[in-house]
């Protein structure tokens, strides 16, 4: 009978995710950030092919040579080429930090969904535990974990992943609390859906945007945390040319005027963190439009 049923022609031709994608492509912030990150990813994957020297090869005669045409970034105290080490040094940090963030996201999302969905006593107990956990500095957790588990990349991933999980859980929880009040959750209950179905199939797809934002922001912090732990000797172990590790073994040289042994590694860390943060800003802007 009545209304002829056509989809009005003014509806958006693209889905919501396509719109986010196109808005990302128009965001200079995101594109610059992405460019920096991709540069370091390329270095991590293929760095050894275009690094002029073997990053691990020592050359005592040329130790502590200042930057020159031969060694662009100079050499360190046992004559290793700093430029090559910076290029290849992105590999470990770009493995450990994303995996740690992934772990944090998965664990945090699950925790956030449970606490936000069940509310009440479950939320109270779990949230207090998570808060207590967040109050302990990462370094102390790392120290304890390393004493217990020994130093390895896996330990670093677990330590950073689990320390960041409560932060992500808190973000997810607040998003879930808002979603839970929407009528589609009541509609699911009126179909006798299980709690797991309601959480993971009904609610989860709708809280992806804040999770995505939090994940990209956390990735920046994770890079920072890995570098810090390596610098303190709890993270990536020698002989890796890792940036944090290199700074840690060379910072004593600054006093002697050998600034190049530290500066370029520090700049590399800074640029990667800035790149990730720019990209995160772009993602946040695109999703909140």
């Amino acid at each position: 009978m009545s209304s002829s049923e056509t989809i009005p022609d003014n509806t958006a031709p693209r889905g919501p995710w396509a719109e986010v994608f196109f808005s990302l492509l128009r965001s200079p912030t995101f594109l610059v950030g992405l460019g920096i990150v991709l540069f370091w990813v390329a270095c991590a994957l293929f760095g050894e092919h275009f690094a002029p020297y073997d990053p691990l090869a020592d050359d005592i005669i040329n130790a502590l040579a200042p930057p020159s045409g031969e060694h662009w970034f100079g050499t360190d105290q046992i004559g290793r080429d700093v430029f090559s080490r910076v290029i290849v040094g992105s590999r470990d940090i770009l493995t450990v930090a994303p995996l740690a963030t992934l772990l944090a996201t998965v664990a945090g999302t699950a925790l956030g969904l449970f606490t936000g969905y069940f509310k009440g006593i479950v939320d109270d107990i779990v949230s207090r535990i998570l808060e207590a956990f967040m109050a302990i500095p990462v370094v102390i957790v790392a120290l304890l974990a390393i004493v217990a588990l020994g130093t390895s990349k896996a330990t670093v991933i677990v330590v950073i992943g689990l320390s960041f999980a409560p932060i992500i859980a808190r973000t997810v929880r607040s998003a879930v609390l808002a979603e839970r009040e929407l009528d589609y959750v009541a509609a699911a209950q009126l179909r006798h859906e299980s709690a797991l179905h309601t959480m993971f199939v009904e609610i989860l797809p709708n809280v992806i945007p804040p999770i995505l934002v939090e994940t990209t922001v956390r990735l920046g912090y994770a890079i920072f945390a890995v570098a810090t732990l390596s610098f303190m000797g709890f993270g990536i172990q020698p002989p890796s040319p890792d940036w944090g590790l290199s700074i840690s073994s060379n910072y004593g040289m600054i006093g002697g005027g050998f600034w190049w042994t530290v500066l370029f590694d520090a700049l590399a860390i800074a640029s990667l963190v800035i790149g990730v943060n720019l990209a995160a800003d772009g993602v946040q802007g695109a999703l909140n439009d």
């Binding site: 009978m1 009545s2 209304s3 002829s4 049923e5 056509t6 989809i7 009005p8 022609d9 003014n10 509806t11 958006a12 889905g15 919501p16 929407l182 009528d183 589609y184 009541a186 509609a187 209950q189 009126l190 179909r191 006798h192 859906e193 009904e202 797809p205 709708n206």
Partner: protein, 677 residues
């Protein structure tokens, strides 16, 4: 005419830039509002009403631009004003009141601060500004302005907030007042108060008014002249009473027919609807914009844009209609056949029986009785309408039935003779599928991440226990029965219009062949033409499936159309319960009387108006005796304050909770009693 007009729009065109293309929203709109005149602008959502309001003061969003025409405000060309002059014009001569007063007021400043600020901009400060603020609040009939000045917006009710917003708009004594859906979010009783206030202020002030509303009845009560907007074009204009009693454009004719009026009921016939959709913004329109939806349209309508024909308004003035066949407009055939087979009333046992249902919430250490001692029963194929202001417990009652919130100990809910567990988790699958709901807001009720196909299939799987080919077959049948097509299945809810989304929600509720469907304000977010189609659909489904409805709405015309029985709720108590016709025609409870009187009507036959003072009291601290005595216009004395009246049978099946005996109510409410002027 010697004096300048308050507002003149001449050939105004406005476009919004979307996806890199300019899309026309207003098309060559011309209208004139005289000094002191109230002009109503009506039309469905998306026709450009609010854009008009924004354009007048050049407040368009960043992607909007005026692509042609002229705006003259009090003789001043708005298009030529520089930024500073525009600011002055906005500050001094035009004021706007928006739909949502909660958003117009700053939540972190006290009312007093927000009001005095306006005077301070005008150079008045300190005590003088404060005095003027108090005077403004007095003017909008706020009884205790001093204490209101001390409060924050969230501490005021919606009606009070809107009064404050109006006071702020009037503070500078504007020459032009723009009201954009000022009562749309308010309860009927509060709406009536705000409209009364605006009508009174019109007498006191010289301001001209541009009144924008989708509600034809509101406009008909408030305005001298009305313009009907369609796809950004004026399609009809004229004196309000003429346009509504003798419309000359098929769109106006159709719009008026969509409203359930004059006690129309589902067993008398279906409502008329308007087929098709409004052209999307920026659509290229050759000929008449309404041609695609108009049964009278000829080839001429599709190719030749009708001019605004000037007609005689019968009072020596002119009225306009943009229709080639304006003299035949009222011959527009119905889009929906009205005839229905009246269902044979069966004497079946009750499908639902609710006895002594209570719900108490703990609110800051106080008991809040949201629902108190409610007993109702419902037969198959019947509709129980629940009416009452917001805060009366309608939605809580519905949630109790569905088991979404557990009731207090003691009451019982029986479905087909079997007692239901209070909590959803403890009800059987059969019991769950037997009682479903259509929520008010489909954007909240339909999961935005899932396709329509997923939404309906999931319901069929869980509620009807179907799989595979059987599920597919039933899916197609169900989709057809709510008049959607296969093409709608692949999309996500956000790609559908409000009416189509609500059809999906209805399909989902009907997936498990329910016995009872709770409809919680299912049409309140929809335009009237879409509302009519949804009400027809619900009525059709009911007569086909013999399903019972519990229908919640603040729109009494809508409730009356669909309901067999009505329960009037106030502070969680049933004040009146009975067959729909008896409750509406009366004699009725004084509260029902006030609710009915508050509804704006298109045909102003009624003279006696009853207004309720103040707001619904807090349920944490309900009044003693009869809970309605604080606002009751027919209070008889101390007994009302001391003793709660029982729900007494007035006629068989019709009960009223009032100390006034039924015969006395009948005498008091007798029609056409002489009302002193």
């Amino acid at each position: 005419m010697t004096e300048t007009n308050a507002l003149e729009l001449h050939d105004l065109s406005v476009a919004y830039r979307v996806n890199g293309r300019n899309r026309a929203v207003l098309r060559n709109l011309s209208l004139t509002i005289g000094q002191g005149e109230a002009y109503g602008l009506v039309g469905e959502s998306g026709c450009g009403k609010s854009t008009v309001a924004l354009t007048v003061v050049r407040y368009l969003p960043r992607n909007g631009s005026i692509t042609g025409g002229a705006i003259s405000l009090d003789g001043q060309d708005v298009m030529k004003l520089d930024a500073w002059a525009l600011r002055r014009a906005r500050a001094d001569s035009v004021s706007m009141v928006y739909q949502d007063p909660g958003k117009a007021l700053n939540p972190s400043l006290r009312i007093g601060r927000q009001l005095t600020e306006i005077f301070e901009l005008g150079g008045v400060s300190g005590q003088a500004a404060e005095d003027r603020a108090i005077a403004m609040l007095n003017r909008v009939r706020i009884s205790d302005p001093k204490s209101v000045m001390q409060r924050y917006p969230h501490q005021l009710s919606g009606g009070m907030q809107q009064r404050v917003a109006i006071a702020m708009a009037l503070a500078n004594d504007p020459t032009m007042l723009i009201l954009d859906e000022p009562t749309t979010g308010l309860d009927a009783t509060v709406e009536a108060e705000v409209l009364d206030l605006i009508a009174q202020l019109r007498q006191e002030l010289s301001a001209s008014i541009l009144f924008i509303s989708h509600n034809l009845a509101v406009v008909s009560n408030m305005c001298d002249r009305v313009g009907v907007l369609y796809a950004g074009m004026l399609v009809e204009e004229g004196p309000t009473d003429r346009v509504f009693s003798d419309p000359r454009h098929p769109y106006t004719v159709a719009l008026l027919r969509c409203l359930p009026r004059g006690g129309q009921r589902k067993d008398h016939g279906r409502l008329d609807t308007i087929p098709g959709f409004l052209p999307g913004i920026g659509a290229t329109i050759k000929g008449c914009a309404f041609a695609d939806r108009c049964a009278l349209a000829t080839d001429r309508c599709r190719t030749e844009l009708p001019p605004l024909y000037e007609l005689d308004d019968g009072h020596g003035g002119i009225r306009l209609s943009r229709c080639h066949y304006h003299e035949q407009a009222q011959a527009l055939p119905r889009a929906t056949p009205s005839d229905v087979a009246a269902p044979a009333r069966k004497e079946a046992p009750a499908v639902l029986r609710v006895e002594g249902l209570n719900k108490t919430y703990a609110s800051h250490g106080h008991a809040l009785r949201a629902v108190k001692d409610v007993s109702v029963s419902l037969r198959p194929g019947e509709t129980l309408g629940l009416v009452g202001e917001s805060g009366s417990g309608k939605t809580t009652f519905a949630r109790l039935l569905l088991g979404l919130v557990p009731p207090d100990e003691g009451g019982t809910i029986e479905l087909e003779g079997k007692t239901l567990a209070p909590r959803l988790e403890n009800r059987s699958d059969d019991q769950i599928k037997a009682m479903q709901i259509v929520f008010q807001n489909p954007d909240s009720a339909l999961n935005r991440s899932h396709s329509i196909r997923h939404l309906i299939s999931r319901a069929l799987k869980r509620l009807a226990g179907l799989k595979g080919a059987a599920l597919q077959a039933r899916l197609e049948e169900l989709v057809r029965s709510v008049r959607l097509t296969d093409r709608h299945l692949a999309v996500k809810p956000r790609q559908l219009s409000g009416g189509l989304k609500q059809r999906v929600a209805i399909a989902r509720a009907f997936a498990g062949e329910p016995r009872i469907v709770v409809c919680d304000e299912p049409t309140s977010a929809l335009d009237v033409s879409v509302q009519a189609a949804i009400l027809n659909l619900l009525a059709d489904l009911q007569s086909k499936e013999d399903v019972s409805y519990i229908f919640i709405s603040h729109d009494l015309g809508v409730v009356r159309y669909l309901s067999d029985k009505i329960a009037v709720l106030y502070l969680g108590r049933i004040m009146e319960l009975g067959p729909s016709e008896n409750v509406f025609s009366g004699p009725h409870h004084p509260y029902t009387e006030a609710l009915l009187s508050a509804v704006p009507k298109l045909d102003q036959t009624e003279t006696a108006r009853i207004r309720l003072d103040g707001e619904i009291p807090s349920a944490t601290n309900p009044p003693s005796g009869c809970v309605f005595h604080t606002r009751c216009p027919r209070k008889i004395g101390a007994i009302c304050e001391e003793k709660e009246p029982a729900l007494a049978e007035a006629e068989p099946g019709h009960t009223i909770r009032c100390h006034i005996p039924y015969a006395e109510l009948a005498r008091l409410q007798a029609p056409k009693q002489p009302v002193p002027a």
